[in-house]
């Protein structure tokens, strides 16, 4: 099956069932998960990313393009994440951040640099590779974070309220950019948010949990 398939995913904390979900997200489509804080949104992300706290119990499985990612260690899942904060590595240049994310299969320093520059260009940040991330504006950082996650060639994208810290105008731009890039790359996306506008912009199915 193409895309992300959540097959009977159930996450519980101390006997309390938080999430129970079976869904199919085709490549390029977005599944939006909404719910109040503490409802288990972040535990669903942690479950897919491979970082669920041992205090939680989870069963079921998640597959991307037929590969059961929940059977793999975190570093082999290739699940790209965008958080609320851009979280650019402060000890690497902008290009360094991208080259760190680039798969090891891309060989040769020149080629890796070229790929990083191309990815920057794709988010309208051409020529800024040499910059210290700390000198970028909030919107620029968000773009670099997006370019970084795309360049890592993920199987899918997890978005953890990635627009909530941007101001209104920027938020609109970033929504469009992120969702169009995901469609372009044919990535299934799981978006967690409590902003209805995010969900509408995503345009996919909306699941409410913990309500």
């Amino acid at each position: 099956m193409e895309g992300l398939f959540l097959d009977g995913v159930r996450i519980a904390l101390g006997g309390r069932l938080l999430v129970s979900l079976t869904r199919h997200v085709p490549p390029g489509a977005v599944l939006t998960v909404m719910g109040p804080s503490g409802a288990g949104k972040s535990s669903l992300l942690a479950y897919l990313g491979g970082f669920l706290d041992p205090a939680f119990t989870a069963c079921g499985r998640a597959l991307v393009d037929g590969v059961e990612i929940t059977a793999l260690p975190a570093e082999e899942r290739h699940v790209g994440i965008l958080f609320q904060d851009p979280l650019l590595f402060p000890h690497m240049s902008v290009a360094g951040n991208l080259m760190f994310a680039l798969p090891e299969s891309v060989k040769g320093r020149a080629e890796r640099r070229r790929r990083a520059e191309a990815a920057l260009c794709g988010v309208g940040m051409a020529g800024l590779g040499g910059r210290d991330p700390a000198t970028l504006s909030g919107g620029q950082k968000a773009r670099v974070a997006l370019a970084r996650v795309l360049v890592s060639e993920p199987r899918m994208l997890l978005l953890d309220e990635p627009f909530s810290k941007l101001d209104t105008q920027l938020r609109q731009q970033m929504r469009q950019l992120v969702f169009s890039k995901a469609r372009e790359s044919g990535l299934p996306v799981l978006l967690v948010t409590h902003d209805m506008a995010d969900a509408r912009a995503a345009g996919g199915e909306i699941v409410k949990i913990g309500a």
Partner: protein, 558 residues
């Protein structure tokens, strides 16, 4: 998994030497020492100990100086924080006092001695215009029989230590809000702080306070430099017996170490009693609504004591530095008549070896301690558990008097033929460096935003890549600071160096203390200068290196 080994190795490396050491101390005290033909248990050695002249006086000096210096230090720190925390002056003094933490005890003791001795800087500054002294007066200021100067030396080092412990605990209490609340109810600053915040702060620093008591009741280096001599504090006499060429004295020394254990235990028990009394007083004051609105005098005194204790050490260090460069320097001149590099040149050939040993032992023990700390912290994250009772184990080497177990450890090293070898010295230093390294790294480690780690995993990076390419580089500053603290602890260690090095492996600190009785001030000045310099170099590296490596990255500069 390697991280699984971390906590295990740490527990073995910390408790092993303490347990073996205690056994190696207690058994010979009761006559069991097969190497010297002792295979039966007997109370003879304890009887011999109690027959030693003035043994109870020695024990009483240890108990009294240890307890009194701790009580005074905690009172100064408590009232200073109560009266001044949150003010600009507090922040300034905090920066002034913090460097003293890395100063070896022996160097602080020398500094004080050079300041207050009859021929010291204070007497020189006051003579002859005030005192009329043309020659140093025949007064027993240093080595006074009451142990007052020894207590002053201990206070000078314990105040910075306790202050830093309190500073680490302060962010966990709502300081500003409580201050406002208490003030709105009409409480003075001191009363408001003591009633509203101190109990919560004290709970956090209780183990460090116990460590201070254990150290102060059994200290050797400060006692040798400043303490009473007839009789000397218990720990000093033990080390003399231990170093006696007559091996049979080992039994006596071991019996004495047993008494030292009892003295420290008694001091801790008395302290717990004092805590109870303090709590009762605090409850009385709080329930009685004691406002103490006019506390300016108390605040002033606390500030004065803080400035005095730090200022005395700094003035003493300056005097030490002067002596190391002094040519002719007659009493009562405040400055040497000539300055010369002679002392430095004269000392150079024999200081090289101890210097190398100091650097090697400090570097290696800190490196191992850092590695183990990282492994332990990684393991904590893996399991999602914080070490509860295990943290007590970390404090174990700091709560048991050093003499009581380093004696036995020495015996064990003699048996295995490893006495006075570098690995043994590093191991013995590691026991004391490890707790500080772990405590220094713990908070920054937990403060690291783990989402960076998750991101990197999403990029397909293995665990070790994530550690070495993301987490450790981002924590460079915290790690190097941990290293500087560990190195400073190792540089300052006296007793483990003397007993494990057995005179063949010496460090700057052990050499400096050995020179104390010789009385050549210029040479002592050079050694004490190095003692002061080495920890400072460590902190300089911890500040400058990250600033240089990451000079292009603004968020890596703090």
């Amino acid at each position: 998994m390697l991280t699984r080994l971390g906590p295990l190795l740490t527990v073995v490396l910390l408790t092993g030497p303490v347990a073996f050491g205690l056994a190696g101390t207690v058994l010979p005290a009761f006559g069991f020492l097969p190497a010297l033909g002792g295979t039966t248990l007997t109370l003879d050695h304890l009887r011999a100990l109690l027959a030693q002249p003035a043994i109870w006086t020695s024990a009483a000096i240890s108990l009294a100086t240890g307890l009194a210096s701790t009580l005074l230090s905690i009172a100064i720190v408590m009232l200073f924080v109560a009266g001044w925390a949150g003010t600009r002056l507090f922040a300034r003094l905090q920066h002034l006092v913090s460097p003293l933490l890395s100063l070896p005890h022996a160097a602080a003791a020398f500094a004080l001695a050079f300041l207050i001795a009859p021929s010291g800087m204070l007497a020189r500054l006051a003579s002859p215009w005030l005192t009329g002294w043309q020659r140093p007066p025949d007064l027993l200021i240093v080595h006074d029989p009451m142990g007052l100067s020894m207590m002053a030396g201990l206070v000078a080092k314990e105040v910075p230590f306790l202050l830093l412990m309190v500073l680490a605990a302060l962010p966990q209490v709502p300081l500003a809000q409580t201050r406002m609340l208490a003030a709105s109810m009409g409480y003075g600053r001191v009363a408001g702080f003591l009633g509203g915040l101190w109990p919560a702060v004290y709970r956090q620093i209780r183990l460090p306070v116990f460590a201070v008591i254990a150290f102060a009741t059994s200290v050797v280096d400060v006692a040798v430099i400043l303490g009473p001599t007839r009789p000397a504090p218990l720990a000093v006499r033990l080390v003399e017996w231990m170093n006696d060429p007559n091996l049979a004295m080992r039994h006596l020394a071991s019996a004495g170490a047993l008494l030292q254990l009892a003295v420290t235990a008694l001091a801790l028990a008395l302290w717990v009693g004092l805590e109870r009394a303090g709590r009762a007083l605090c409850i009385l004051a709080v329930e009685g609504g004691l406002r103490m609105r006019r506390d300016a005098a108390v605040r002033g005194m606390a500030l004065g004591a803080m400035v005095l204790s730090a200022g005395a050490v700094f003035a003493g260090l300056a005097t030490l530095a002067l002596w190391s460069f002094a040519g002719l320097w007659q009493f009562p001149d405040a400055l040497p008549a000539t300055f010369t590099l002679k002392s430095w040149i004269r000392v150079l050939p024999r200081i090289a070896d101890p210097l190398l040993t100091t650097l090697a032992a400090g570097f290696l023990s800190t490196l191992i301690a850092g590695l183990l700390s990282v492994l332990c912290l990684m393991r904590e994250e893996e399991t999602g558990r914080r070490p509860g009772p295990a943290l007590m184990l970390l404090y174990l080497p700091l709560l048991v008097p050093q003499v009581a177990f380093v004696f036995g450890l020495q015996l064990f090293l003699i048996y295995t033929g490893t006495l006075a070898t570098m690995p043994a010295l590093v191991l013995s230093h590691l026991v004391f460096v490890m707790p500080y390294a772990y405590l220094a790294l713990k908070d920054p480690w937990h403060a690291f935003d783990r989402r960076f780690d998750r991101l990197a995993a999403g990029f397909g990076k293995q665990r070790w890549q994530r550690l070495f390419l993301v987490r450790l580089p981002m924590m460079t500053r915290a790690i190097l600071t941990m290293g500087a603290i560990g190195f400073a602890v190792s540089v300052g260690l006296y007793l483990p160096t003397v007993l494990v090095g057995a005179g063949r492996l010496t460090t700057i600190t052990s050499e400096a203390v050995a020179l104390a009785s010789g009385g050549d001030r210029r040479v002592v000045g050079v050694y004490a200068f190095w003692q002061m310099l080495l920890p400072m170099l460590g902190f300089a590296v911890a500040t400058l290196v990250p600033a240089l490596i990451f000079r292009r990255f603004r968020d890596m500069q703090v």
